[in-house]
């Protein structure tokens, strides 16, 4: 099993863009929060090993740390790909008196902006997004996003150091959004490490086409790739192929190593724990919204997990990249 | 003794089959009302009756296609239960259905092999089936290519396949439901020879036909059904045509039509050396030339599948003409789309009335405006005008004596005869200049037939030019001024009805061309 590095103690303050605030530090195990009811609406499933699972796991962790269901009550709606249904769920949770209602999908935004004014005492959270709706006079929305390109960059550095063939394969879903951020960061990281390296990127055109993702991985391997990465829930298919062909895989979003412990050698983990906790605290302090959060390496929202099996110098290069990004020495150019 | 019990095919004989007190109710119809019927080995027993008398129903019960509401069936004196065709086949009963039971997309051999155990299960043994078919073809004079697809066969050939299917299974008891409807006189003779042979060999045969002379010619006994009841069973030798007709209808009947003399007028329809081909490029019409004048009925005789349907369809604009020209009232209309042919004054009664002529799910009123719904007064702009449509329907129902609960009734609830009357009403109401009537009385009972015939004659008197296509020679003879005989897509001859004989027509129907001079001067 990979050595899971304990999440580094979250850092305070970072030169953040205006109106963007960092998550507050989490102190120790016992969380000091009042009982709260949280509801979350997600486009895929809580077990997708990717986008939705990442935040759901964080919620469960908070619940556990805070003392269980009596303190943190969690309600969820998954597979809410249909925005109309998602909106109904959001309104319903708010009407049911949930204190924090999370809309975990970009596409939920316009619905959320219509619902939020009707529930001025409820906090809402919207991700991935940067807009808290203050421009429209809304004060009870938090926004959050993951700077996926940061971990992407680190994974890229790692991949370039691992690759012997000089070819790396990337299995993307749809060429947009979070996935594209990650992949662009990945390509930048790989190129920065080895300008001659070839990074082949292919998209399946769908978030859930596991079979095509698997074949994309196969194709990359046939094209000479000896390190693979990819994003969205479809990648479980690609990881299966990587496992079969014994090609190392670099993950993102959720920890995919249980699926192939020897193959998933590094992961950019989205750790929403601190962000969520900060929202809870703000809410309980009477600040219902208005903050835009970012998961970054610097604030510990993005953490890198490295497997023991990785060569030391590769991990060293990756950690150096991490440090560079955190310190601001490395800036990532994306299209 | 034991040998005596076997048929030449090796099957055991059915010494006797008896149906007792058979009752079959369909919703609203008592199709069989306590029917008693029997047949013995070596006998040909005729079943006779008007359309809808219940003949097919009785036979379908025997074959296991329907379950009777009451009554029993005895085989060799033993009561038996027939739940499905599989059962009846097991008992040695075979049936040639009124409507062919053939799979178009399969070959003749495959159709024959269907449902049979193969000699090398699970593999098909088509070679053996083919050989057997060839044998049967030879023994019984039934020419048919085992490798041909059924869809490629003419109707007469398909009928042969049906017979071969039954012979192949060696049915000890064979039911033939109107097998002669699509055969030429010569083919009928051949079939009868086979049937007589089979009877002699010890088969039991049940034969259904509307043609009285066939019954007199072939059968030993005859049972007449009317309205689902048995009117009587007679030895064929002891009855006359007139007796049978009276038993069938319940009164004396006059089968003659009076065709008053008429003076023909201008040429309304003219075909000039029209040729047409099918999807495979094979010609279905060759150099067909004809004229139909005002106040004239021209009959087209011929065995089914000799180009009559295509002739009707090229005129209606439904089948492309590859060579030659068609004129309607002097105007060339070759290959105009159907809509324009209708516009030009053509009316058409297609032979497959349910398939081509009407919409089962549409109401009577809707069916009556099938071509003309876009015209005044049935519509204004794009909107249908229901007041006029209803008024029109009422008028047609009254004028043409269409029996229907209401004008809103879906067409499928009408009987065949009334559907045909509706189609006739619709076509005539359009005040056509030329009418093509294909098989206008097929499957229609005597009353309705009489009515339709009289309508056609009345329209003739009013100047309509009619091309009457029929496989019923009696009908052609009764109505036509001139008769065209078709064979293999060609015109074999055009003769004056009053100056020809059935023999002459029969020869031409079998493919003998009348000499060309007479063709030219036939008018």
């Amino acid at each position: 099993a990979p050595a899971t590095e304990a999440p580094p103690p979250a850092k305070t303050e970072e030169a953040a863009p205006a109106k963007t605030e960092e998550a507050a530090p989490a102190e120790g195990a016992a969380l000091d929060i009042e009982p709260i009811r949280i509801a979350i609406v997600m486009p895929s499933t809580t077990t997708d090993l990717a986008w939705s699972q990442a935040i759901f796991d964080a919620l469960l962790r908070i619940q556990e740390e805070a003392g269980g269901e009596d303190v943190v009550e969690i309600a969820y709606s998954e597979t809410m790909f249909n925005v109309t249904d998602a909106a109904a769920a959001l309104r319903d949770y708010a009407a049911d008196g949930y204190d924090l209602v999370i809309a975990h999908g970009t596409q939920y935004g316009s619905s959320l902006f219509e619902i939020a004014p009707d529930f001025p005492d409820t906090s809402f959270a919207w991700g991935t997004a940067t807009d808290t709706g203050e421009g429209e006079g809304l004060h009870n929305i938090f926004a959050y996003e993951a700077r996926a390109e940061q971990g992407g960059y680190v994974n890229g550095v790692l991949a370039a150091s691992l690759s012997k063939s000089g070819v790396i394969g990337v299995v993307g879903p749809v060429e947009a959004g979070d996935a594209k951020l990650y992949i662009d960061g990945f390509v930048a990281g790989a190129k920065a490490t080895n300008p001659d390296i070839t990074v082949n990127v292919s998209y399946t055109g769908s978030f859930g086409d596991t079979a095509l993702a698997a074949e994309a991985a196969n194709t990359h391997i046939n094209a000479g790739a000896d390190v693979l990465t990819g994003s969205a829930q479809q990648v479980v298919g690609a990881i299966g192929v990587a496992k079969e062909k014994n090609v190392p895989w670099l993950g993102t979003q959720s920890d995919q190593s249980p699926l192939a412990p020897d193959i998933v050698v590094a992961t950019q983990l989205y750790d929403w724990h601190d962000t969520l906790l900060d929202m809870i605290k703000k809410h309980q302090a009477g600040e219902l919204g208005g903050t835009a959060y970012q998961l970054t390496l610097k604030n510990g929202g993005l953490t890198m997990l490295y497997s023991d099996s990785l060569p030391e110098e590769a991990v060293a290069a990756a950690k150096e990249a991490e440090a560079g990004i955190i310190s601001g020495e490395i800036t990532i150019d994306i299209e | 003794m034991a040998k005596n019990n076997l048929l030449p095919s090796g099957l055991p004989r059915i010494e006797s089959m008896e149906m007792r007190g058979i009752v079959k109710r369909f919703p609203g119809v008592l199709a069989n009302d306590h029917v008693d019927f029997d047949v013995k080995a070596g006998e040909i027993h005729a079943l006779l009756g008007e359309n809808g008398a219940g003949k097919s129903t009785l036979m379908k019960i025997l074959y296991g296609l329907y379950q009777p509401n009451a009554g029993e069936i005895l085989l060799n004196g033993q009561p038996i239960h027939i739940h499905s065709p599989a059962d009846s086949i097991r008992y040695g009963i075979g049936m040639i259905h009124q409507h062919f039971m053939l799979v178009d997309s399969l070959t003749v051999a495959e159709n024959v092999a269907l449902g049979l155990k193969s000699s090398r299960e699970p593999r098909l043994d088509l070679d053996r089936v083919t050989t057997r078919i060839r044998e049967l073809s030879k023994n019984y004079g039934l020419q048919v290519d085992p490798d041909a697809y059924v869809s490629q066969l003419a109707v007469g050939q398909q009928q042969r396949v049906e017979i071969i299917k039954a012979l192949y299974r060696g049915a000890a008891l064979l039911v033939l439901d109107e097998p002669t409807a699509v055969l030429t006189p010569q083919e009928v003779d051949d079939l009868f020879a086979i049937l007589r042979q089979m009877a002699q060999d010890g088969h039991a045969l049940i034969f259904i036909s509307h043609k009285l002379h066939e019954i007199l010619d072939l059968t030993d006994r005859v049972t007449v059904l009317r309205d689902g009841k048995v009117i009587g069973t007679r030895l064929t030798a002891e009855v006359t045509k007139e007796d049978l007709a009276r038993m069938m209808v319940g009164r004396d009947i006059l089968l003659e039509r009076v065709r008053p003399p008429a003076t023909v007028g201008e040429v309304r329809l003219k075909l000039d050396r029209v040729t047409a081909v099918n999807d495979d490029g094979a010609p279905v019409l060759r150099n067909v030339s004809l004229e139909v004048r005002s106040s004239e009925i021209v009959g087209v005789a011929g065995v089914s599948g000799n180009g009559q349907r295509q002739l009707a369809e090229v005129i209606a604009g439904l089948w492309p003409v590859t060579e030659g020209r068609i004129f309607l009232e002097g105007r060339e209309v070759t290959n105009l789309p159907p809509a324009e042919m209708l516009e030009a004054g053509l009316s058409y009664i297609p032979e497959e009335r349910m398939h081509d002529g009407a919409l089962k799910e549409f109401s009577v009123a809707e069916n009556l405006i099938l071509q003309d719904h876009i015209r005044e007064p049935y519509s204004k702009g794009i909107f249908l005008d229901f007041r006029h449509i209803a008024r029109h329907a009422q008028e047609m129902i009254r004028k043409f004596d269409i029996k229907t609960p209401s004008q809103e009734t879906p067409l499928k609830n009408l009987s065949g005869g009334n559907i045909q009357k509706l189609i006739l009403a619709r076509e005539l109401a359009r005040k056509p200049r030329v009418l093509i009537a294909a098989q206008p009385t097929r499957g229609v009972d005597i009353g309705a037939t009489e009515y339709i015939h009289n309508q056609l004659l009345q329209q003739r008197a009013e100047g309509l030019a009619t091309l009457l296509i029929s496989e019923d020679l009696d009908e052609i003879r009764a109505l036509s001024d001139r008769i065209i005989v078709m064979f293999g897509g060609e015109i074999m001859g055009i003769v004056d009805n009053d100056q020809t004989t059935v023999e002459e027509l029969g020869l031409m129907m079998a493919g003998e061309k009348k000499d060309l001079q007479s063709l030219g001067v036939a008018r």
């Binding site: 499933t45 077990t47 997708d48 597979t79 394969g169 060429e175 070839t198 082949n200 990127v201 292919s202 998209y203 399946t204 055109g205 769908s206 859930g208 086409d209 596991t210 079979a211 095509l212 074949e215 994309a216 196969n218 194709t219 990359h220 046939n222 094209a223 000479g224 829930q233 479980v236 298919g237 990881i239 299966g240 192929v241 079969e244 | 296609l65 329907y66 065709p85 599989a86 086949i89 049936m95 259905h97 409507h99 062919f100 039971m101 799979v103 178009d104 997309s105 399969l106 495959e110 159709n111 092999a113 449902g115 049979l116 155990k117 193969s118 299960e121 699970p122 593999r123 098909l124 299917k165």
Partner: protein, 321 residues
């Protein structure tokens, strides 16, 4: 970009991927072809595939026995086919809509079972690639037939389920055209009245074909979950069942036609993956669109006549005609 890759290697890669991608389509489409040839349109293939994928995976995961897993997938698929047969043959329900119902049920039920029994995406050891090594024949050699250049590389590096899918094509052809059963199936789909009048049980034929179709759809699902991907994830078929139904139409209801359709679709999919991998300057969306576009374009060529079974989607009742 990848200059070192020879054209030949790319072709080998495309062909190899094409065969793998075609595998689930072949199972599902051949099964569906049987059902349709007998006159039943089963639009629920997608749902059956998902249930097959789940049960195959679950049993393999719990027992470690791939054959048991395959058997489970086939059984569950057959049961769902049987349900479809009951609804569409015995209860004469409209086939299009009952298929959609079956699909929704399969999608929901497989996910529900996944959540309650597994809870998270797990992996199994799937059917291994066969490499046809001489050593397995007891020969003292390290050589494997899969090393044969080109042909071996394309054809001899697959697992047993891939070979099974392709073996199914001639078998299906044989059953359909060379056996008494096949004759009954063809007749029942074309003219059930005629078949019935010769003692062929229309209902039985349809029950068997639809159940068989379900079984093959179940195996199609298993070919994803325990042979190609070796995982189960909710909705992992992602519309492949519907494509399989479409391929039956594409293939004009003939095994070889279905094979051609499945290969065309899969090869173009493999090709578009290569197009992207090679970094050719085509937007990814356009590349993904290729197989769909090409399928439509191919169909527009008039060289084929559709041979749609005349009784397709029409329930049969004796005495109706």
């Amino acid at each position: 970009m990848s200059g070192e890759l020879s054209v030949l290697a790319i072709i080998v890669g495309i062909a190899h991927s094409g065969l793998r991608l075609a595998t689930p389509y072949l199972y599902a489409a051949i099964g569906e072809m049987f059902a349709q040839r007998s006159g039943v349109l089963n639009l629920g293939v997608e749902g059956i595939m998902l249930m097959g994928a789940y049960s195959g995976f679950f049993v393999t995961f719990k027992t470690g026995n791939l054959l048991l897993g395959l058997l489970a997938a086939a059984t569950v698929g057959a049961l769902m086919g049987l349900a479809m047969a009951f609804v569409s043959v015995t209860l004469q329900a409209q086939q299009g809509i009952s298929g959609i119902g079956l699909f929704m049920f399969g999608l929901g039920a497989s996910s529900l079972l996944f959540k309650t029994t597994l809870g998270t995406v797990e992996g199994v050891e799937g059917f291994p690639e066969l490499r046809f090594c001489l050593s397995s024949l007891g020969l003292n050699s390290n050589y494997c037939l899969s090393q044969i250049p080109i042909l071996g590389e394309i054809f001899l590096r697959h697992n047993i389920l891939v070979y099974g899918a392709f073996a199914l094509v001639p078998i299906a052809w044989w059953v359909l055209n060379k056996t008494t059963w096949g004759l009954s199936i063809r007749a029942v789909g074309q003219n059930p009245q005629a078949a019935d009048s010769l003692g062929v049980s229309v209902a039985r034929v349809r029950y068997v074909t639809v159940t068989l179709g379900g079984m093959l759809a179940g195996i199609a699902g298993a070919s994803l979950s325990i042979s190609l991907l070796n995982i189960f994830q909710e909705n992992m078929t992602n519309g492949q069942g519907f494509i399989a139904v479409a391929l039956v139409y594409f293939g004009s209801w003939a095994p070889l036609g279905v094979l051609a359709g499945a290969m065309l679709f899969s090869l173009v999919n493999a090709l578009q993956l290569w197009v992207q991998v090679l970094g050719l300057n085509i937007p990814s969306d356009v590349a993904v669109m290729l197989p769909y576009l090409l399928t439509i374009i191919t169909l527009a060529f008039p060289f084929r006549r559709a041979l749609q079974p005349a009784a397709l989607t029409k329930p049969f009742e004796r005495g109706e005609s």
